[in-house]
């Protein structure tokens, strides 16, 4: 439709209020019939009932011109007419995307079911039996106009929500480290960072960040709020704002999780929580200190070991469940060529939890097979291609992948 008129305009305050559908009297109705008497009769019935935006056409050809210039909300047409009959009119209205949704009421004296079926096949929305009765005509006109109005309001609401979600998704992505911020960290510390984030169909609850603690240390974390959608997404904003406030020192992974846990226990309703992994890399001692709040099994590779990835599997309370929860620090070597590979559970639960493309072991094998042969960015691309091959549909949860590679060359 080229333009929505006021009567069919979207009202965001009451998107599903079907009472609004009752107000259809200002709808535009086009009457097409080669009989002046019939056009006048229909016109009179409609005006008596309060419809006032009416146009007439003498045949299908003239009717099509009116459709194109006047954009009616409903068409009432005869079938047998000179120049262009009602069947062809229906077909042409339906074939034009601008008019394809206009309801068409066809007047028919035909009682054969084949002929009636032919009218529906051509694109008629409904039939009105001749001779036309005022009650039947008005009843069908109201039903189809209300139906059209509700469909348009619903479509407009969906467009409105889609725009809102796009905007919210962009805002949520702005919480994640920007490329230039990561490049600045790469210039300051001997690291190569690669990351990937893909929101699920709606909004989701993933968030990650990497930041300098001091001249020698870097913190990286990845969190995933339970559930999906707007609620989970709003929780990422809560957490991000709290972290930005800086009230919890960032120099100890377990203490940091405990601080976030107390905050989330205060603000999250029962049943909502977050899993989180936090690692602090100390380049002066070549160590990684980490703590986990029920994060999925993350991966780490010791650059001076046998070159393989190890699975970090440490139980811990999710954040936001118990104020008394304590978290435990673990420390391991993280020298040159070491890698920390973080991901959200969508990576190991796509397309579903029981038959994922990447089980944890398959993920580890994939990283082992590829790590020394390509850059972290190229490996993530290959990982995603493998995921898409096995699960072409969009993941049902947010997907976050972050790899932090300690490179050999000092900046």
């Amino acid at each position: 439709m080229r333009a929505l008129r006021q009567s069919f305009a979207f009202d965001a305050r009451r998107p599903f209020d079907d009472r609004a559908a009752g107000d259809v009297k200002d709808a535009r109705i086009l009457i097409i019939d080669d009989s002046v008497a019939v056009r006048r009769a229909i016109d009179a019935y409609l005006r008596t009932d309060g419809f006032c935006n009416l146009a007439h056409a003498r045949d299908g050809a003239e009717g099509l011109q009116v459709v194109e210039t006047w954009h009616p909300d409903l068409i009432i047409t005869d079938l047998t007419m000179p120049n262009l009959d009602g069947f062809e009119l229906c077909r042409r209205v339906r074939s034009d995307t601008e008019s394809s949704n206009i309801p068409i009421l066809v007047q028919t004296g035909m009682n054969k079911s084949e002929s009636r079926a032919e009218a529906f096949s051509a694109g008629a929305t409904d039939l009105i039996t001749k001779p036309i009765s005022s009650g039947e005509l008005l009843g069908r006109v109201r039903v189809h106009l209300e139906h059209r109005k509700l469909i348009e309001r619903l479509s407009e609401f969906q467009r409105h929500m889609s725009q809102e979600l796009d905007q919210a998704r962009a805002m949520q992505e702005s919480l994640l480290p920007a490329d230039d911020a990561m490049r600045r960290l790469e210039a300051r510390f001997p690291i190569a960072l690669a990351s990937y984030y893909e929101a699920s169909i709606g909004l989701g609850g993933d968030i990650w960040d990497v930041r300098a603690v001091d001249a020698n240390r870097l913190m990286v974390f990845s969190a995933d709020f339970s559930g999906h959608g707007v609620g989970a997404a709003l929780n990422t904003f809560r957490l991000h704002s709290f972290i930005l406030g800086g009230s919890v020192p960032t120099d100890d992974a377990a203490s940091w999780l405990e601080g976030l846990n107390r905050f989330l226990c205060d603000v999250l309703p029962v049943g909502q929580f977050a899993t989180m992994f936090c690692g602090i890399i100390d380049f002066s001692t070549s160590t990684l200190q980490y703590a986990s709040a029920a994060a999925p099994w993350q991966m780490v590779r010791d650059g001076e070991g046998d070159g393989g990835f190890e699975i970090i599997a440490d139980p811990g309370f999710p954040l936001g469940l118990s104020r008394e929860a304590a978290y435990e620090n673990h420390v391991r070597r993280f020298g040159p060529d070491s890698v920390l590979f973080l991901y959200s559970d969508a990576l190991i639960e796509t397309p579903d939890m029981l038959n994922p493309v990447f089980s944890i072991e398959r993920l580890r094998a994939f990283l082992d097979a590829h790590w020394d042969k390509a850059s972290p960015v190229a490996i993530q691309r290959a990982l995603l291609e493998e995921l898409r091959r096995g699960a072409p549909a969009k993941p049902s949860d947010d997907l976050t992948i972050v790899s932090l590679h300690r490179v050999r060359d000092q900046p």
């Binding site: 029962v270 929580f273 029920a294 811990g316 309370f317 559970d345 639960e349 939890m353 029981l354």
Partner: protein, 101 residues
């Protein structure tokens, strides 16, 4: 998720079957309402037939625990298997809820 319930000798047992996910929230809330209104003093979630659970599913157990505390009934999770069991252990739910093998 499919649910089968048995009430016997003051124990309300709900067998949760297949997968427990975000979309099961409504059904689970309805189940909790049934549990609370049954007057049972002990409620058991039997997970022997539950093949997988996501994070929102774990959250539902926390909602159940909250209901149990408010309603003064006890809550037990019974027979979690494989993936479900490993997630409960990873999240230390055994420290919050009574879990029976």
């Amino acid at each position: 998720m499919r649910v089968e319930t048995i009430i016997n000798a003051g124990v309300f047992e709900a067998k949760l079957i297949d997968q427990m996910m975000f979309s099961d929230h409504g059904a689970f809330r309805s189940l909790l309402k049934d549990m609370s209104q049954s007057g049972a003093k002990k409620c058991v979630f039997n997970l022997a037939g539950l093949t997988s659970i996501d994070s929102s599913g774990l959250g539902m157990f926390m909602v159940a625990l909250d209901e149990a505390r408010k309603g003064h009934w006890t809550l037990t999770i019974k027979s979690p298997q494989a993936h479900v069991k490993s997630l409960l252990v990873l999240s230390r739910f055994d420290k919050l809820i009574n879990i029976e093998a």
